[in-house]
Symmetry: C2
Subunit: 212 residues, 2 copies
DNA sequence: TAACTGACCGACCGATCGGTCTTATTTCTT
DNA sequence: AAGAAATAAGACCGATCGGTCGGTCAGTTA
């Protein structure tokens, strides 16, 4: 049987983390204030401390929560595609769709923001972000390597290099979509086009990638 | 004759802005605290208010200061190169050199950090950052267009697209250099390689770009 | 010498920060 | 029915936040 106390706590916990992740994209993971967060949720500040004993614990939990969101909404859909260059490009497209889609976070990309914010602030939060970032780069790299062994991409392709470029082009899109002057052609389209052309140049069978 | 008081004020003003720009790359443009800044400089907090009437004014001044730094240390050296694709690539290299060189800021790139930090925070600070960002993208785009009219790049090249890609690849470098695990091959080398290959594919005369 | 200006300081303000404490309510266990 | 466990609330803490105030001092002008 389910413990009603734990169940209720878990519900609150999830609701708080949802709000924390969203708020962090706007105010920053550090700028996230417990008072504001509590007020936005209609909860007392000390109610938050019942779940996380410090702000840092909440920040780490928020990172974990955002990671889970990312896995479900970005990574998983792409893994449904057949192994190879199609899966790799699907991951890139899935990421861009997440940024511009209806479930998009109010302040852009949680991880991109947090990475820049904490890149020069030693501590557990930075370390956790760095690990998550490394895992993401590793995923891009692994899918690229798979595309090579599948014979989709040329054998002399450097997986690290391709992963670097895809990551760079995707991250810039979410920033420019929020910051660049409106009349600018859709940055998401540019990010898609850039990776598409790059992969097409490395790709043996042009039919594996969309034409346009 | 020079007013000694004004001269002294200008000296401290510059010293404060230098420290403010450096500190902002670590703690964020918002996380920059007047108390900490004053203490680091051996100045009283109220001394700062004699120069800028509010924190926001100081932030805007810091942006202007960083912009001047960027112009002197990144843009100007590149403009010494002959017009065309060489100048464009020199700008990219100059930027990477600034990130990794001896004059590098302690927390990476002032603008990249500030752009992500303020991309979702309406106000004068965000607006100023957005303008500066637009000007930077415009410069990349203009140099690309020049390279086309010079006949260096293929006539069907899209300057916006090239500018987008160069900006993305450069920005990712400074982040990954600080965040990615150390054994990773130099991100600056990856950023250089990526743009070099990209431009080489568009370039009519291969001798205009370095071989390696 | 007197009047004035700009740079700068120390004390202080209300607000908010992260965090602690005590207490009340709800829910499961026995 | 009674107690244990977990969620929450409210009052409160010291520290720090951005910002104001009155005032000192060095240098300029008349």
């Amino acid at each position: 049987m389910v413990d009603g106390r734990l169940a209720r706590g878990e519900r609150t916990r999830t609701a708080v983390l949802d709000a924390a992740v969203a708020l962090a994209t706007e105010a920053g993971l550090d700028g996230l204030s417990l008072g504001q967060l509590a007020e936005r949720l209609g909860v007392s500040k000390s109610g938050l401390f019942a779940h996380w004993r410090s702000k840092e614990e909440l920040q780490l939990a928020a990172i974990e929560h955002a990671r889970a969101q990312w896995t479900v909404q970005v990574v998983s859909p792409a893994l449904a595609k057949p192994r190879g260059v199609r899966r790799l490009f699907a991951l890139h497209e899935s990421r861009l769709a997440f940024y511009s889609g209806p479930r998009a976070l109010p302040g852009g990309c949680f991880f991109a923001n947090a990475e820049f914010e904490y890149s020069a602030r030693p501590g557990p939060v930075r370390d956790r972000i760095a690990v998550a970032f490394g895992e993401w780069l590793g995923l891009l790299e692994r899918l690229t390597a798979e595309a090579i062994t599948e014979g989709d991409l040329r054998a002399d392709t450097d997986p690290h290099q391709v992963a670097y470029e895809i990551e760079a082009l995707g991250m810039a899109a979410v920033l420019q979509a929020r910051l660049a002057p409106a009349p600018n052609p859709d940055p998401y389209h540019r990010a898609r086009r850039a990776v598409l052309d790059r992969l097409r140049a490395l790709c043996a069978d042009p039919d594996l990638l969309p034409e346009e």
